[in-house]
Each structure stands twice: as structure tokens, then as C-alpha cells.
Point group: C2
Chain length 479, copies 2
């Protein structure tokens, strides 16, 4: 595999026409990003082009001091089968070989055990690049990818590109809490934008941005467009286009956090995936975050960030002085599996198996919920991801009793069913954080999040039966 060219698309004559470059987003950069420099020691690498150069420059341990001399893994090919007897397996081995940070072939052991270059191992980047080209076909020329330690790491680095202390970020009104806790210690203020079942409302986003003072404009929007956490909603194609149009109109950066992209199970075409915001991006204003967490394993801590090359370079500089790069062992396993031992065919078979598995679990959850929860709460059938979001039909009398959501949650615990209470995903303004009581905060969010990814079918059924008992005991759905 070679790094693909992304500078071509077809014009009206069917001839390849060059894509335009990304727009210059320099004016939006944070102070921290403007002050990022390459690691000084890495600037010496350019002198290594001379074949007769002897380097006493790099403070690297020699690979002869690395005790690992072979790394192997056994991988199950076919998740879609539940019959253990049908399982087939692939083996991969990472063997010793000379250090090489230029080859796009799956790396030898010496390359993955040594220090890297802040971008990820070339073969892993080649895989990421090919995935982006194949699935998202970016519409500007100078896009690039950089390895991250997963989307939590990627989000931190994306938000630090554009935000200093005191800046604000527009987020979905029900928001992934780790994103909020990433921003708050840095003094970055998340501001909630209203959603409907198709995600963030474009007009609400526009209104919020226009209300901000011009000396501290809002520059960044954080979105989970597919199988959103916690609501399970997926933005429709039209909604994505409308949000992108607002971003163009008001010169906003969109951070597209898309860990559930491959866990889509739409009605109709089973393998028809929604177009990403990146795929609509003609300007280079989308920072796309992807991860192997939900499609290979979270413990690999391996993901990638796609953006204009100038921004990717700043993320590389940030990597050099933080994580350096993801674990070489994780990268080696991904590279050998996806580029060699499985290849595209094995990868696609695996993804199809995953989608089949998640769809089955989603359908099972839906059947139980329709039987047990109809009338007690409302929900939208998720078309992606791993979450149902129950909006409780709270009776009027209960709504007057402050702290009722805390009591519903505690009653769930007593009944031995754990769901995540809605208030954990609520985004309060800095003023609300200090003025509202815990009871008031909880009552603002009469919702519960249920994951259908982890527990077995019979446990999911029992859990929903218990939840229904709790909601009935609070007279949900009456009046």
C-alpha cells in the first residue's frame, strides 16, 4: 500500500481536476497552538539523508537492548457467528527487522519498539489515510492524518488548537461528560445548543454564536454526529449539511467526534453509512476524530485525527511533548492485522459482523422496551452506536417535587438496575453550576441513558422490566 494522492477529483469532463487547498484557519488558532514548535532534537533528522553520516545525535537506546524479539497475536475472523464451532482464526507475527520510519509496509519489531516521530508509524498512517480517502473523499487537497491515543486524546488536542482559557465551545445540549471535563479545567466553557432527534439545531447554533461578544467570539463546535452519546441520535444528511453551512457562514471549526461511525444499522441498506461532516468539508474546518476503541478494542488506545495538514502538524508538535505517539505494540498489531493478515477483506468482514451484532442487540432492546416501557417514557430508535435515551413521562404532580429524578435514580439502584441519570450529560452554564442545587440540576434532566452493548440478552430484559416497575411506581405516563 502506498500513501494515496488526494489532490484529484473528477470534473465535468470526467478529467481529474485539482482540489483546492484548505482555507487558512490561522486566525482561529489558540495562543498555545501559535506557540507550538517542533521538537528541536527532531530538527536534526534532516541531516540523516547523507548515507555516510555517523550520528551521535539521537539519544536513542539501541534495539539490541530491547528484550522483545517476537510479538504474535491470534485474531478471530468472524464475529457474526455465535457458533463457536464456526470460528476461524488468523495469526499475526511481528518479527525483528531494521528500524525504518519511511516504509508503508507493516513494521518490523525494531521500528515499533523505538521512539517514533509524533505522527504514528507510516504503515498505520497509510491505513488511516486510505480509510479516509475511501470513505470520506475529502474535498480539499492538503488534508492529512495523525495518530492519537484514541478520541479522548484527540479531542483534547483538537480543542487546544483553537481554545485558550476563557474561550467557549458550542456543544450538544446533552453532551459526552468526558468532553466537558476535558475543557473545564483548562478554563474553556462549554455552552449547550438545543437538539432534536436529529441532533444539534442549526438555528440555535447560529443564534448562540451571534449573541457572543465580538472580542471573544465562539469559534468551535463539538459534535458526535453518529449514535450520539448519550441520546443515540444520528444527524441526518440534511442536518449535517445545515450545520456545515452555519459553520461556513460564521467561520466556525467543527470537531467531529465519530467513534460509532462503523456501528451504524440504518433501516433499508444495511451497509449505507451516513456521510461524515469531513466528506462535506470544502474549507478544511472539520477536525475529524476516529478510534479503534469500538471496532477493535478500547485498550489499544489508538485512533486518528484528520484535518488540514497545517493543523495536523500542530497536533504532531503537541504529540511530541505529551504522548509522543500511541503504543508501538498497539500500532504494530493494527498494522499487521489490517494491512497484511486480514487485509481489507478481513476488515470489512469484521465490520459487517460488528454491525450485525450491534443491530441484533439494538433490536432486542427495542422489542423489550416496546413491551415494557411504552407510555412510561419516550425514545427514538437509535440508528447507530450503543445507547437508548429514555425521556420519562413525568406526571405533573411529581414534577412539583424537587429532587424527584434523584429519587427515581435511587429507586432504580434499590431495584438493582443501573442506568446513567440524565443530569450527568446536562451542560450547565457557569452561573447555573453555582446557583442551582443538585436536586434542581437533576430535575432539569428527566432522562436516563441505557447502553445495550454490554449485558447479555436476558439481563437486558430483566433490567428493562425492573426499570418499568420503578417508573410505574412513580406513576410515569399518567395524567
Amino acid at each position: 500500500m502506498t500513501l494515496p494522492s488526494s489532490t484529484e477529483n473528477a470534473n465535468a469532463d470526467g478529467m481529474p481536476a485539482p482540489l483546492p487547498p484548505a482555507k487558512d484557519m490561522t486566525a482561529l488558532l489558540s495562543r498555545a497552538a501559535r506557540n507550538r514548535n517542533p521538537s528541536p532534537l527532531k530538527s536534526l533528522i534532516k541531516y540523516m539523508v547523507y548515507p555516510d553520516m555517523i550520528s551521535l545525535g539521537a539519544g536513542l537506546p539501541h534495539s539490541s537492548t530491547f528484550p522483545l524479539v517476537q510479538l504474535s497475536a491470534v485474531v478471530r475472523d468472524n464475529l457474526e457467528t455465535t457458533n463457536q464451532a464456526d470460528a476461524t482464526y488468523t495469526s499475526l507475527s511481528v518479527m525483528p527487522g531494521p528500524f525504518d520510519m519511511t516504509s508503508a509496509a507493516p513494521p518490523p519489531l525494531d521500528s515499533v519498539l523505538q521512539y517514533g516521530n509524533g505522527r504514528g508509524i507510516p504503515s498505520v498512517r497509510a491505513f488511516f489515510t486510505e480509510e479516509i480517502r475511501r470513505l470520506h473523499q475529502p474535498r480539499y487537497a492538503d488534508w492529512d492524518v495523525v495518530a492519537t491515543c484514541g478520541n479522548t486524546d484527540g479531542f483534547l488536542k483538537a480543542v487546544m488548537l483553537f481554545c485558550d482559557a476563557g474561550d467557549a465551545v458550542a456543544v450538544e445540549e446533552w453532551c459526552y461528560p468526558a468532553a466537558l471535563e476535558t475543557m473545564r479545567p483548562l478554563g474553556i466553557v462549554p455552552l449547550p445548543v438545543a437538539m432534536d432527534s436529529e441532533g444539534m439545531l442549526p438555528d440555535a447554533l447560529r443564534d448562540m454564536v451571534l449573541q457572543r461578544s465580538q472580542d471573544r467570539p465562539l469559534r468551535v463546535v463539538y459534535l458526535v454526529p453518529t449514535g450520539q452519546n448519550p441520546t443515540g441520535s444520528s444527524m441526518s444528511v440534511e442536518r449535517r449539511r445545515a450545520i456545515y453551512a452555519v459553520a461556513q457562514e460564521l467561520n466556525l471549526i467543527l470537531i467531529e467526534d465519530d467513534p460509532y461511525y462503523h456501528l451504524q444499522f440504518p433501516d433499508g441498506e444495511p451497509d449505507q453509512l451516513l456521510p461524515s461532516l469531513l466528506s462535506m468539508d470544502t474549507d478544511g474546518r472539520v477536525i475529524r476524530l476516529e478510534t479503534f476503541a469500538k471496532v477493535l478494542a478500547p485498550g489499544l488506545r489508538l485512533g486518528w485525527l484528520t484535518a488540514p495538514a497545517k493543523l495536523v502538524q500542530l497536533v504532531q508538535y503537541h504529540n511530541e511533548v505529551s504522548t509522543q505517539q500511541p503504543s508501538g505494540v498497539s500500532q504494530a498489531i493494527a498494522a499487521h492485522l489490517l494491512l497484511k493478515d486480514w487485509g481489507q477483506a478481513g476488515w470489512q468482514r469484521h465490520l459487517t459482523g460488528l454491525r450485525t451484532d450491534y443491530r441484533r442487540k439494538r433490536d432486542l432492546m427495542q422489542a423489550v422496551c416496546q413491551r415494557e416501557l411504552t407510555g412510561l417514557c419516550e425514545w427514538t430508535l437509535p440508528q447507530a452506536g450503543m445507547f437508548f435515551w429514555f425521556k420519562l413521562n413525568v406526571p405533573k404532580a411529581l414534577r412539583a417535587e424537587a429532587g424527584y429524578m434523584q429519587r427515581i435514580f435511587e429507586c432504580c439502584i434499590d431495584k438493582r438496575v443501573l442506568l446513567v441519570p440524565g443530569w450527568q450529560f446536562a451542560v450547565f452554564t457557569p452561573e447555573e453550576e453555582t446557583t442551582l442545587s443538585e436536586a434542581e440540576k437533576s430535575d432539569r434532566a428527566p432522562c436516563l441513558r441505557a447502553a445495550f452493548s454490554f449485558e447479555s440478552a436476558d439481563k437486558v430484559e430483566q433490567a428493562i422490566v425492573r426499570l418499568a416497575q420503578v417508573l410505574r411506581s412513580f406513576k410515569c405516563g399518567t395524567e
Copy 2:
């Protein structure tokens, strides 16, 4: 192996006396650290104590969706032998097994492939804890360890515990550049403290701290005490005690970055390691950073941070919203190797082999340097690490020619020998950064760093011969 108790030491009667707790360092915390909170979703874990609880809470993929079903490695036991025929090998295998985040046994595959807890896998933490207890015997009760993605990650998190934009950190006058580039984008100002061959000078540190204004006091000192990068110097026991005394006197935090701790090769007792600053710390003011980068492999991206438990908890919160934890695959390899397949005996044999290997390379470099460079430059024989630091004997006439160090460096490149020029390690004040020219900056640092860790013996010899030719051509050592 169980997590050791660290609450006891022996008093004068030989009876165990309880150690005091760490002093409260809350007043020194940064705004960011004060605003760190636990990941909200992880606060639900406490409800999982009920055996009959069914959780739809955690948004985790089920381990049946992880394609990896076995992970194996082959490890070479005896680095000290250069004879391939003498090599012996150990194999390790990580097999499937139920998710368990409480056991201190080497983890099954399901545990390392799943999301972790921000602290590292229990067995890996148990190893770190035992190493700290055995080698450093902390002198306060409530110390703790947390896994990092290596010391670059650890340093970022340590400095962010105490420093906001505008704060200053005292550093060695010749300083590891990645540490400087970690701080500068965050608006944290490194201030150089004079060194001699035993490292940072305590009186110079005291003077600098006392000169700072009281509304923005200097609170943090960054040190590489053993085999310092770039000077190769190791702080003597007395120097360590003196620096710690200044830290106590002026209420400073010491960040002890010690990646070369195990690469010591002192004269006399070969395995007598210098006492760490942590081992002298009665107050809980030392943040100790260690890594497997130089003793197993950099590509594992696995290290650990030791500090009072309250500070470790804040680093855990920081992990939860950045790296989450090091790669589970890296952690699994370390845990199985060090706790099971090698155990302590294999680990000690490996470390002895490493020290033997580095000592041989150091001695070879020293012999060549004594033959070729005597008179041309000065250096101190390093007792640890991987670096020689050459202070050039620049003739008086050359010193008057601005930019001479740049010309010496370029001449080295022409002769095809790469060393790191001293200016890459120089710490300029913010004012100097803007007022000094590149030539002036380079001439402030008439030094070159040479690593003896990476190239083969004959290449090291050739490199030093070439360097000597360059230095003679500039008439170094004359006048």
C-alpha cells in the same frame, strides 16, 4: 504479589513506627488542577458492589467484539552476552479471561483490551508500587503511583498540577528541550539555574526563588538527577540533599525526571544506585517520573508517576480526560513479563545486562575521547545515562567571531558527524529569546552533546576522529 503496605518503618527500638502523612500541598496547585473532577460516568462504578445489579450504565463494547483472542511475545533473557549462541529466551502469553479490574495478578486479555480506570492495570501498578518500595522506601505514608504514557506524558501532567500560564519553573541551565517545549505553549516560563558537574547549584536556586515577586512565586523545580540530558552529570548524594533542603526551606515542588536511573555505572560498587530525591522526601514534595523507555523499549509508551496520593488522584483525573491510560497491550506485556514469566530474577538479570552493556559503550567512548579530544574540549566522565557533553576549548580569536558555533556545527555536518549543538539545550529568558540573534544564541553554548548508546563501536570511533579534525581546524585548545 499484593500491594505492599507503606505505612511502616523501623523506629529506634526496631519496632515499626507509622510514617507521617504527606504535607498538604493544596496551596501550590494550579487553577487547572483545582478544577479537575473525576469522570462523572466513573462515579457510577460504586453501585457495582451489589452482586445482583444489572448495569446498562457503562457504554462499553462487550469483549466478544474484540477480535484479539491471544497475545504472545518472545523475550531474550540475557543481554549481557554478545554471543548469539548463548542467548536464552522466555515466552509469555496473554490468554482470554474475564474482565477484572481488581486482581493484582497479570491480567487476562479481556481486562487489557477493555477501557481502564485512569490509573493503570492493577498488576502493573502493583509492580510499580513494589519497585518504589524496594528501591526508594518513601518516608511518608500516603504515597501512590499512577501509570503514564512515559515521562514526556508524566512531565506534562506533573507541571500542569502546579503551573498555570504565567508561572515559572526553575530548570537546569542545560535542559532537556522537550521539557521546555512542553511548557512554553502553555505560557509556563522556564528559568535556568546554574549547574556544575554535580548538577543544579542549590544557592543559585535559592537566589532565583527569592528574587521572584511574592504575588507570582516560583513553586516548581524540574530536575534530571541521574545521567542528566544533555550534560550526562549525576547529582551527588550531598547535592541531592542540599537541593531538597532548599525545596523544604522555600516550599518548592521537585519534579524528579529519572529515566536513566537504572543505567548507572558508578566506579566501585557496580550495582550501588544513587538515592533518588523521592527517597529523601519526608514532606511529599517530590513528583518522581520513571519510564520503561530506556530499560524495556520506548515504543511501549509506559511509565509511572509517584507522588502523594492526593496528587496522584489529580493525575488520574487528568488521564481520564486525555490518554485514559497507557496501551493495555503494552501493560499486559510488562505485567506478564515482570510479574510472571521473568519475575524479579529475570528483571534484575536484564538490568545488570543493560548496565554492563552501557558501561562498556561508555568506557569505549571515553578511551577514544581521551586519545582524540584531550585538549580540544573538556568533559566529565558520565556515571549514568547515555551522553557525553563536550565543552569546547574555543580559542580567544574565534570567540570574537559571532556565529562560530554555527560554523563548527556546519563543519561537523560537512565531515559527516552529527552531534547535537549546545544551543538546543540552552534556556533563554523570554527577553533573550526575542533580542538575541541565532548566532548570539549559538555562541552562548560552545558545547556539543554526543550519545554513546546507539552507534556501533567502530562508528563511534570514526565519529570522534572526525570531530577532532573539525575542532583542530578551528584551532580549539590553542592559546
